[in-house]
Symmetry: C2
Subunit: 252 residues, 2 copies
């Protein structure tokens, strides 16, 4: 229980999740802009009913299948992701045999290293994206996010963007990579440009994906391919927007 948040506050759960980010902020891994981005996601989560919808769970399943059949899956981690679910994201990377790479919109060497340390404290054995000597530039992005690790995201066939601002998804797609994103706004550029968009709170999505991967890794590759090929991102996104629209109606 937080000393400043009364337990009878109707938004208690949401406020305590915010505290995780505030702690991440105090530890130097979250930037002020990341706190605002979280608030934005929180609003969409509120409209979605703060639950994993059936379409989100379906996207999570398809995402796990795609990651399992990929040759070089890479999970891109930013400050908010590290603050919210380092343990779970490391667990997922191990189950999937996926690399972890730090990639920040608001770049800083110190923060990249603090995020990497957090991941390592939570069991990661290798973290990419830390050294300028192994940096490659991707076209079509003017922010610091254009830099990727030569041995990480640059050679990835599938990139899992745990949380993103939206400027990088299209550039990665145009390089022929599969992109899986977690974005609570189904209307965002990231959501629209991704191969698979998970419209869910990262706090729910990653544990779901750990469970799903544990189930799915016993499946035949042909079955995993079938699930991925049947998944239609546009149709699935439409369902999320419907949930929001109906949610607004119901609440009113």
């Amino acid at each position: 229980m937080h000393k400043n948040i009364p337990i009878d506050h109707p938004r208690y759960i949401s406020l305590t999740i915010r505290e995780k980010l505030v702690n991440g902020f105090k530890a130097g891994i979250v930037v002020p802009q990341g706190l605002m981005a979280h608030g934005r996601g929180e609003a969409f989560d509120y409209l979605l009913g703060e639950n994993t919808t059936p379409s989100a769970l379906y996207a999570e399943k398809a995402a796990c299948c795609l990651l399992l059949i990929s040759k070089h899956p890479v999970i891109s981690v930013n400050g908010n992701t590290a603050a919210l679910c380092s343990r779970e994201i490391v667990e997922l990377s191990k189950l999937l045999g996926a690399s972890l790479e730090v990639n920040l919109f608001h770049q800083s060497q110190r923060r990249s290293h603090l995020i990497a340390e957090t991941l390592i404290e939570n069991g990661a054995t290798q973290v990419f994206g830390l050294y300028s000597a192994t940096r490659t530039m991707i076209n079509g992005i003017s922010s610091n996010r254009r830099f990727v690790d030569t041995f990480g995201m640059a050679k990835a066939d599938t990139v899992f963007l745990a949380l993103e601002d939206g400027d990088r998804c299209q550039a990665l797609r145009s390089q022929g990579k599969n992109v899986i994103s977690v974005d609570l706004n189904p209307l965002s550029r990231t959501a629209q440009a991704s191969s698979i968009t998970i419209v869910d709170n990262l706090i729910r999505a990653v544990p779901n994906m750990v469970n799903l991967t544990n189930q799915l890794r016993a499946e035949k590759v042909s079955e995993l391919i079938k699930i991925v090929s049947e998944f239609d991102n546009e149709t699935n996104l439409k369902y999320s927007t419907e949930v929001i629209r109906n949610g607004i109606q119901k609440r009113y």
Copy 2:
């Protein structure tokens, strides 16, 4: 132009507004939780089309009329309000003859005084809510927001909550006070409990209210009363939720 935000970024305007809050944060007047609350509002603003809707403008007009006919109007100011529009809020308070009172969810003497200083730098001559000697408690709130100034909000007939978390509106209403709130979420408890809810970005609402007050203060009191009595908050809020619902459909 901000060094970290490329000018071609599609969310450039929104990102530069965020910088105002980040600066307020660095100055000690905004708390991390305030940054997240801003992000939440930003998401609703995005769904509203980032424009003042006709219903928001109508609520702003009714609000100005109500404030003009009130005996003791008080404007409640928090950290985000001070960071976003100190100059405009002071201007509005002068036009209306309204008191300014600092009231914080995440209480701190130092921050209250920093906010008061910002208001004074922007032309305010008196700021309430700073001293414990003149503190009164209102019932029905368990957070620090239960404390109001004996000579400010405690004796107010109308309170303008420039930005709120929602825990205080109902308590002020049950004390028989009129409450005007600015809240981009038309479904929030604050929005639902207010006498007049302005579903608009504060950055647009306050300058609009300055202009409206300049026009309306030449009107007869009977005309102002007529406008207030004709205003129906529930109907007006429904219109805002419709704008959001239709906006989601249109964007998709």
